[in-house]
Amino acid sequence: MRELIEISLVALIAFTSPIVSQRVKIPAVIIEILAGFLLAMVTGFFIASEWFGFFSTIGLIFLMFLSGLEIDFTLIIRKFGRYWKVPFYVAVSLMMSFLISHYLNLSLIYGVFLANVSLGIVMPVMKETGIVHTEFGQKTLLATFLTDLITISLLSGIAVSFKSPDSLFELLLPAMIIPAFISAYYLGRYLIWHFPDFMARFFDDPMELGVRGSFAIMIVFSGFAYLLGSETILGAFLAGALISMIFRGAGKLEESLMGVGYGIFIPFFFIKTGVDIYYRIPEVTLHLPALLFVAGIAVKLLPSLIFASDMEPSQVFGFGMLQSSKLGLTLAGAEIAREIGIISPGEAVGIAIWTVVSALLFPVLFRFVVRT
C-alpha cells in the first residue's frame, strides 16, 4: 500500500511540475527537488525503495544521454575560430576552478562542479529573452556547449581514475570506448550517405524508429562503458553526443527524446535528490554551499572580463552570471562522486543546495541585467 502511494505521488509530481513551473517561473527540475524534499518531510516514510532507486538510476543515465544530445557540434565547429575569446574564456574558467579547489583543499572533482554550467537553464533563458541569434547569444551558447563537453569528459576521467585499478590494462580498458565511439560515428555517417531513406526514418517514422534506435544506442554504450570498467553515465553521454554528431543536431528526434526523458525517467532522479537532501540535512553545514557559491561566481565572472572590449559592462556581468548557473549535470556529478566515495553524502547535499540556489538566483539576475 505504501509503495502504491509512493508511486502515485511521484507520478503526480512528474505530471504537475511543468505546470507549476510555468506558473511560478522556476525550472521544473527545482520544483521536483523541492517536491521530493517536501514529500520526505511530510510523509516521513519516503525512503528510497528498490524501484525508486532503479528508476532514479535510469533517470540519471537518461539525463546524461540528453546532455550529450543537446550539445550542438555544428555551432562549436562553426563559431570556435570566429569567437576565439570564448574557448579562451572556458579554458581560464576551468583553470581557475581547479586552482580554487586546490587552494581550498577540496577534492579535484570540485573543479568540475565549479566550472560546470547548466544548458538546461541557459537555453530557456536565452529563448525567453529573445537573444539566441544575437552575437551575445551565440557566444553564450558556445561557452555553454564547450564547458558541458569538457566538464563531462573530465568528470568521467576523474571517476575512472579514482577507482584505482589493479593493472595498467584495467586503467586503459575504459579508454576502449573512444575507438568504439569513433567507429560508430563513421558508421553513422556512412549510413547517412548510402542509406539516407532509412536514416530519415530516425526522424519521420510512425513506429518511432528514431526513439527506439536512440534507446538502443544509449543502452549499448552504457552497457559497454560498464563492461569496460568505466561509468555508465559516460557511455550514456557519449551515446547522446554520438547521435548529435552524426546527425549534426537531432532536431525533432531530440524533442521526442526530451519528452520521454523529462516526462518519465528524469523526474525520478530529481525527486530522489530532494528526498536525499531532506534525510541528509543533519550532515550538512552551510559553510560548503556558501563557499561554493562565492567560488562559483568568481570562476565565471572574473574570466568574463575578457569580453570587456567586445560587450557592454552589463552584458559582461550577465554573461558571467548565466555561466554560474548549475543544475542537472552538477547534481548528476555529485551523485556519481558520492557513489564512488570521492565526496561524502553530506557534501553531496551541500552541492545540491548550492545548485538549487544558483539555479534560482542567476537566471533572475541575468533577466534583470538584460532588461535594464
Binding site: 550517405w193 530519415a200 543536431g249 537531432a250
Partner: protein, 402 residues
C-alpha cells in the same frame, strides 16, 4: 550628375524626376520649351565630340532618350571615350539590343509611357517595386511575351478586378489592369546571368565532357566561352584548345585570382579528391564543376547561407533557362527574413522538416542534373565533408556560389 540626351517626352519626364540633370537637345524650339519649364538644358548635337568636351561626363550617368537607335548608338560610341559612370538607353528596336550591350549600354525596350519610369529605376536603383496602370494608350491587348521591360526589371504580378495573376507569357493585358514590376541589379542575374564563361581544364581526360557542357550552357544563356588550358608548359586563354596538358590547381588559381569582374562563371572539371580552395575565389565568381551534362532538366538549390540572394538568383535564372528547380531552405527562419522574390513558374520552394543533413542527402541522391549551394555554409547542419561528397561522388554538375 545625369545627362539626358533628347528632350522629348521620355527625356523631359526623366529630367523632372532627377535632381542634378542636364538635358542635351538638338532642336531650338524644344530647347526653349525645356528652358521655360525651368530645366537645365544645353543646345547642341550629341553626336559631336565637341559638345561632350564641354560637359562633365566623367562618372556621370548618360541617359540616351532619343527615339532613334542608330543615333543613340552613335552617341554611345562618342561618349564612351569620356568615361561616363553608366549609360542607359530607351531601345526602340530589339534588333539593336546586342549592339547596345557591346557598347556597355543598359536599356529597356518598351513603350514611351513606362520607359521613363524604367530608366529612372535603372539609374536610381532605389525604388525596387512600382506599378503601371494599363490603358488603351499603352499596353491594352498586348501579350506579356511582347512586353520587354529590360534586363534589370521584371513583371512579378498583374492585378485584375481585385485578383492577382502570375505573369504568364501568354497573358493578354486589358484596360484597367495594373502591372507590378520590380527592378534591381539582381533581377538582371535572373534574366541574363552570364556574359563571359571561362572554362578551366585541369585534366586532359575530362576535356571532352566538360567542353560539351560548357558549349551547351554558353549557347543557351548566350554567353561568350573562353578556355583556360595548359599547352607547351604555358597557360593559355583561347576560344578553342587543340591540345591540353595537366594543370596544377595552384596554376589555375593564380590566373583566376587576377580575373575579378572579367568573368561571370568559371566552369571546370571536378577535382579527383578534396582540395583546399581559398574561399576568396568563390567570392569573385561562382564555380561550376561540370559532369558533361548538356541540359539541366532537374535542378536542386540548397539554401545553406544566411545571405540567400545569390543562390536564389542563380536558381531562378537556371530555372528560367532550363528545367524545374527545387529550392530547399534549411531553416524556416530564412523565409521569414528573406525579402527576395522568386518569380518563375518552374521553381518549387520547400523547407526541410526534420533534419536538413539527412533530407538534403536524400534529395541529392535523386540524381539532379545540377546542384547549387553556397560556399559560406553558415545555415543548416551540412558539413564540408558532405558538400565535398556532392562534388566528388555524385553524377550531378555542381554550382558553388559565394
Amino acid at each position: 550628375m545625369h545627362i539626358v540626351v533628347g528632350g522629348g517626352r521620355v527625356g523631359r519626364r526623366i529630367a523632372e524626376m532627377l535632381n542634378d540633370c542636364i538635358i542635351v537637345e538638338k532642336s531650338r524650339e524644344q530647347y526653349e520649351s525645356l528652358k521655360d519649364s525651368g530645366l537645365n538644358v544645353v543646345l547642341g548635337d550629341a553626336t559631336q565630340r565637341e559638345l561632350w568636351e564641354r560637359l562633365p561626363v566623367k562618372d556621370s550617368v548618360i541617359i540616351l532618350a532619343t527615339n532613334n537607335d542608330l543615333v543613340n548608338l552613335k552617341i554611345a560610341k562618342v561618349v564612351r571615350d569620356f568615361e561616363p559612370g553608366d549609360m542607359v538607353a530607351r531601345i526602340e528596336s530589339e534588333v539593336y539590343q546586342k549592339q547596345y550591350q557591346n557598347l556597355g549600354v543598359r536599356g529597356v525596350t518598351c513603350g514611351k509611357s513606362i520607359a521613363s519610369d524604367l530608366i529612372h529605376e535603372l539609374i536610381e536603383s532605389k525604388r525596387r517595386y512600382f506599378e503601371i496602370a494599363v490603358s488603351k494608350n499603352n499596353f491594352a491587348d498586348v501579350r506579356l511575351s511582347d512586353l520587354n521591360v529590360g534586363d534589370d526589371c521584371t513583371i512579378i504580378l498583374i492585378y485584375r478586378e481585385g485578383k492577382i495573376f502570375r505573369p504568364h507569357p501568354d497573358f493578354i493585358l486589358e484596360e484597367g489592369d495594373v502591372i507590378g514590376i520590380i527592378c534591381g541589379r539582381e533581377v538582371k542575374k535572373t534574366k541574363n546571368p552570364f556574359d563571359e564563361i571561362l572554362l578551366v581544364i585541369r585534366h586532359p581526360e575530362n576535356y571532352d565532357e566538360v567542353l560539351k557542357e560548357a558549349n551547351s550552357i554558353s549557347r543557351i544563356v548566350d554567353a561568350d566561352l573562353l578556355i583556360l588550358h595548359k599547352h607547351d608548359g604555358k597557360i593559355l586563354c583561347s576560344f578553342q584548345a587543340d591540345s591540353i596538358e595537366e594543370m596544377e590547381l595552384s596554376e589555375a588559381l593564380e590566373i583566376l585570382n587576377t580575373l575579378e569582374d572579367k568573368v561571370d562563371l568559371v566552369m571546370t572539371d571536378p577535382p579527383k579528391a578534396k582540395v583546399e580552395f581559398d574561399p576568396k575565389i568563390f567570392r569573385k565568381f561562382p564555380i561550376l564543376f561540370a559532369r558533361g551534362k548538356t541540359y539541366y532538366s532537374e535542378i536542386l538549390a540548397i539554401v545553406n547561407t544566411s545571405n540567400p540572394e545569390e543562390i536564389l538568383n542563380y536558381a531562378t535564372s537556371f530555372a528560367n533557362y532550363f528545367g524545374r528547380c527545387k529550392i530547399v531552405f534549411l531553416d524556416s527562419n530564412q523565409l521569414k527574413t528573406s525579402s527576395f522574390v522568386v518569380e518563375s513558374p518552374t521553381v518549387e520552394i520547400t523547407v526541410t522538416k526534420f533534419n536538413p543533413l539527412v533530407e538534403i542527402v536524400r534529395e541529392v541522391k535523386r540524381e539532379y542534373d545540377l546542384l547549387i549551394f553556397s560556399i559560406s555554409n553558415d545555415i543548416g547542419n551540412l558539413d564540408q565533408e558532405f558538400l565535398w561528397k556532392f562534388i566528388l561522388e555524385t553524377r550531378s554538375s555542381v554550382l558553388v556560389v559565394r
